[in-house]
Symmetry: C2
Subunit: 411 residues, 2 copies
Amino acid sequence: MLEFFQLQTIDEVLAHIQRFPPLKVETVPLDAAWNRVLAADMAAPADVPEFDRACMDGYAVRARDTFGASPGSPAWLTISGEVAMGQVAEQTLGPGQAQRLATGGMLPPGADAVVMVEYTQELGDQTIEVYRSVAPLENVVQRGEDVKAGTVLLTAGTRLRPQDIGLLAALGVAAVPVRRRPRVAVVATGDEIVPITATPQPGQMRDANSYALAAQIRAGGGEPHLLGIIPDELEAWQATMQAALANADLLLLSGGSSVGTRDLAVEAISSFADAEILVHGVAISPGKPTILATIAGKPLFGLPGHPVSAMVVMDILVQPLMARLLGLAGPEPPWRRTVTARLSRNLASAPGREEFIRVRLRLEGDILWADPVLGKSGLISTMVKADGLTRIPRHTEGLEQGEAVQVWLFA
Amino acid sequence: MLEFFQLQTIDEVLAHIQRFPPLKVETVPLDAAWNRVLAADMAAPADVPEFDRACMDGYAVRARDTFGASPGSPAWLTISGEVAMGQVAEQTLGPGQAQRLATGGMLPPGADAVVMVEYTQELGDQTIEVYRSVAPLENVVQRGEDVKAGTVLLTAGTRLRPQDIGLLAALGVAAVPVRRRPRVAVVATGDEIVPITATPQPGQMRDANSYALAAQIRAGGGEPHLLGIIPDELEAWQATMQAALANADLLLLSGGSSVGTRDLAVEAISSFADAEILVHGVAISPGKPTILATIAGKPLFGLPGHPVSAMVVMDILVQPLMARLLGLAGPEPPWRRTVTARLSRNLASAPGREEFIRVRLRLEGDILWADPVLGKSGLISTMVKADGLTRIPRHTEGLEQGEAVQVWLFA
């Protein structure tokens, strides 16, 4: 009979992952920081903006000079000057005066509001009519209104979005401390596996998994290193693992889904002095024959050989490890990658394991249907046809047609 | 009074975008093809797999030899050999015989099913007991079961996901035809704008927009080229636009939100012989002072200077243009980037324009709330605090507290 040490649950595997610390911090130029994970809290060194500025084109005024103004009874103001963009507005604004300025221009001393140009009319060079009153601070961005000095808007563990990059630029952060991207070595194993450029002979298969995994690694913020294909021989495994562990932060051995390969994986891992097998078999389907080990403090996953199984294990177990190495602050909020849909047919399941079902989404009127994509876990085409995964929990016997299910969308 | 040629609707702007054809095709190695847009339909050149293979570890058998087998009444089969991984299974399987094989092994001639090793017991070297019957084709992946020769599973216009990369690998596609990434030149304009490494003097602001826009360009699959900051002078604009248009597929002029800059943009664009202004003002808020033009067949957007306005226009109008240049097959399905949430307060709106409201999402029990993030469109911090946008349609006067709204999530 096939032996596993002891099947572990997803939560048990995720608990093991906590032993691996985040990677070191590196500093990257701001224009390379998008989608990287911030490694420090970023406090604003100064107010943004550092001066009161107009956020409309028009005239800097004293608000009280416009009170009561209307098209029928305009206020008359004297144009006492113009604020040049990018310059200090030095000329104080007196009562009954207005100074021309454009969006972004500095408010002159004495002014407390901006009248939009739309509500004014010039009468010659010296005078304007104002057709609408403004309140104090209207059409003004006050000093520190965007960010006050000392405020921390971005904290360590944040994956930087475009607006976060923009904020860092506004703060003058030209070099950003981020976690190093995990270097993930991928080794394909199996005597039947040939490079993708080869024409497989009968009995042989192309190395599809390395490429799918590499793309998943990129999607998760890592840097894949494909180390090629090794035969099912202990010495080849040991040598490749040794070399990979010298450079990589995480090692993925792809293709250990047959009994012989699994035994070889255990033997190869155990032959390292400082190795520990943490997980050997997970209570999920597909993906049961998954190994998690540590060698010299570095994590290693032995992934099943079936492409669907390997990709599901990547999403469910390896991506959380990558997130850990990246120092990400927490899991993605549920609304980011999950949608609710109605299952279009019954699904049976064996209790005792979490089952992940590939589904294709289909919008019919207002109803979003999840159509299960059935097929063996050896068929990568089923992943291509699917939009995401839904889960049959461990202690249920299946899901019913019409039931609302959560669908986890593929990246 | 401020003049726009004629405000256009979002749909009208999107219609103009159709005039720009997709970019040329280039070929990239498969391991660089993730997230690129496929430029041709990919037909399978051969069956995958090209032979019947085991998808479990066990024994190749003739299914009918196992019929009726049970733990109480096992079938006895003679081990007539073993299928080596990656080799042609040449030895024909006769009646009453079994051949050992592992997952991925080729089914020998004469065999039509695989009995899982879990349901067998070896009795010496020559014989196995089988405790369960298998049906013909059980635990077998048939020739062409994953992909049949000639099948097109990936069509032109698909953004390649990890599983799509895996499928291409299985098909032996080592070099992939994809659309060239749009090269997008970004020019920041404005006398008040200083580089992010500078300490702004009173009246000056750091160039936050170029960096936020660059990250949005990357998120949309483009390649940003930051051309720096130019002053509000016609000759500087003309020279920079000329240089940018020589190399870029799309030019973004950032910062034309003041009346003076807008006039300058129109003047600069119109000074090119083969220029046409397609849009000058869009019925959206924020983002009204947006310009879309074409010069020598290349598209140019004049973006508002307020960071929120610029980012919203990027998402709503520029990303669809990028998608067009990339040859993407269609818009993202609504369930990919949109979630439904309940608005946590009333929102008023002026009819006649589409209004986009920044919202922060908050899960409270089962209810997902959308909290509007209020604040002027000059405040980039409001984008940092928000998770997405919700829309007040053009012909409504607002949204009510508790109303279900669609929230478009930020990338």
